[in-house]
């Protein structure tokens, strides 16, 4: 029996939907609904999280993200310029730094900066354990963003630099007024991606332990997990992360669309 091409396609699509519904049905039917509602949707626990989950935890997550991002981008700029320097020593130093910190898990760097450095050097980063952790996030995100920025700087057409130089603008003003503004525009979408990664990486700070007014979302969830003896705080925290990161990734998509338009 021969079927028409369109009929075949309709059958195939229909089968896919049926399979998906079957999977959902199995999950719903086999789930222990009573246990779920007790462990994740305990109303009293949810109520007890309010308003600290927003006013303290979410606020601190955003604050730590902004600090790490701002510090990271400054560090990245220095590293990117060093990588593009005519001086070989600078290039080597920057390359070594970037490879080193991209090769380490962020959590290892956080532990090292919060606990290792005070032990080894007797120097405590400002802000205590959290300060050390933030410094670590700056160091790691700086390494990643340095490569992004370098690519952006190199994507600015050579003629732009030549035009600025031919007007007598030295290296500094050429970079500041002509190259960097164009490079930043090019790297806004990938940098926003880095930003979203940082939102989630601040959860690693939970490892160093913090006082109640310092908690970010993950450590807030952890602490409440212990006191409430059910998992509702984790679900709540997960939702707040999504509330922060999904609009940010929508922003990336918007910026990318806009950039494609501008690029002609």
């Amino acid at each position: 029996m021969t079927l028409k091409r369109a009929t075949k396609r309709r059958l195939r699509d229909g089968a896919a939907y049926v399979a998906l519904l079957a999977v959902i049905a199995i999950v719903v039917l086999t789930a222990d609904r009573e246990s779920i509602s007790k462990n994740f949707l305990d109303w009293d626990t949810w109520k007890s999280l309010w308003p600290d989950i927003v006013l303290t935890a979410a606020k601190n997550t955003v604050k730590y993200t902004l600090i790490s991002f701002a510090g990271g981008i400054l560090l990245a700029l220095v590293l990117a310029l060093m990588r593009l320097s005519p001086l070989r020593l600078y290039r080597w130093l920057a390359t070594g730094y970037i490879e080193f910190f991209r090769g380490l898990p962020a959590l290892v760097v956080i532990i090292f900066m919060s606990f290792g450095v005070p032990l080894a050097f007797g120097w405590r980063p400002p802000g205590g354990l959290i300060g050390g952790g933030l410094l670590a996030l700056i160091m790691v995100s700086g390494a990643y963003m340095a490569e992004t920025l370098r690519a952006g700087i190199q994507a600015v057409p050579k003629g732009q630099r030549e035009a600025a130089q031919s007007l007598g603008m030295g290296g500094f003003w050429t970079m500041v007024t002509v190259v960097l503004p164009q490079a930043i525009r090019i790297v806004i979408p990938p940098l926003t991606n880095e930003f979203i990664l940082l939102v989630k990486d601040t959860s690693l700070l939970a490892f160093v332990g913090m006082q109640y007014n310092e908690v970010e979302l993950t450590s807030f969830g952890q602490q409440n997990l212990i006191s409430s003896a059910d998992a509702s705080p984790l679900l709540a925290v997960a939702l707040v992360y999504l509330v922060i990161s999904i609009p940010a990734s929508q922003l990336v998509a918007f910026l990318e669309r806009r950039q494609q338009k501008v690029a002609r």
Partner: protein, 249 residues
């Protein structure tokens, strides 16, 4: 006419060699541009004419030889290159306007940063030069909103706003649609009639003939023939010049 201004050539190039890796693109160039002279450089692509022009403000690093700009040796590492460049206007084939700045800002940024002019002064000079190239009404436009011919005229106005002593043109009309070439050439003709010293790498033989004081024909990294444009174009002496002109005229 015995001032030192008239005796020092604007540009004096002697025994200039330039290698790109193993490839020798300039094989010993001797050449000069006098004050207020318009010198056009022609030749097939790959002849080294753009490289020669770009060596004059050291966008290309000469491998050996001497380049004097108004008597100042620009190959000397002690020379303040930015100060020399500020006195040499340069116009590129691809315009190279700054796309993130308005037309007015394009004309002002170097005036303020390099010449240390006040904003008001820079704007006044910029407006005067925009009027000169016929684009006084476009100061708030962005480069992407302008046609190629308009962009190139803005680029000329940008270079003029630095009050340069001379202008270098690197195939200024080669990237333009044919109907836009005339406006740019007209601006260049006006400049020449005002006595601007100009070195122009071009394929516009008509412009070279009418406006040029001297024509230089380059091929294979050497100057094959140079002289009065009407003479060189009308009665070329060297067989390579003849071969080239028979193809383009």
């Amino acid at each position: 006419m015995s001032t030192s201004q008239m005796t020092t050539p604007a540009i004096q190039v002697s025994d200039l060699h330039k290698y790109f890796g193993e490839n020798e693109v300039l094989k010993g160039i001797d050449f000069h541009v006098d004050q207020s002279q318009v010198v056009c450089v022609i030749g097939p692509s790959g002849s080294g004419k753009s490289t020669l022009l770009r060596c004059v403000n050291r966008l290309e690093e000469p491998t050996s030889g001497k380049i004097l700009v108004e008597g100042i040796d620009i190959t000397d590492p002690e020379t303040d290159l930015d100060a020399v460049r500020a006195r040499i206007g340069m116009v590129f084939q691809q315009f190279n306007l700054f796309p993130h700045m308005s037309v007015l800002k394009n004309l002002c940024v170097a005036q303020q940063r390099v010449k240390k002019r006040s904003k008001d002064e820079a704007v006044e000079i910029a407006r005067r030069n925009l009027a000169k190239v016929g684009l006084a009404d476009r100061e708030n436009s962005y480069p992407a909103q302008l046609s190629g011919g308009q962009q190139q005229r803005v680029a000329i106005a940008r270079a003029l706003s630095m009050n340069p002593d001379m202008m270098l043109f690197d195939e200024p009309t080669s990237a333009l649609d044919p109907e836009l070439v005339g406006d740019v050439l007209a601006v260049m003709r006006d400049l020449a009639s005002e006595g601007m010293t100009m070195m122009v790498v071009t394929h516009e033989m008509g412009f070279a003939r009418e406006v040029g004081d001297k024509l230089v024909f380059m091929d294979g990294g050497v100057i094959v023939e140079e002289g009065d444009p009407r003479q060189v174009l009308g009665d070329p002496q060297h067989h390579r010049t003849q071969a080239f002109l028979s193809k383009v005229l």
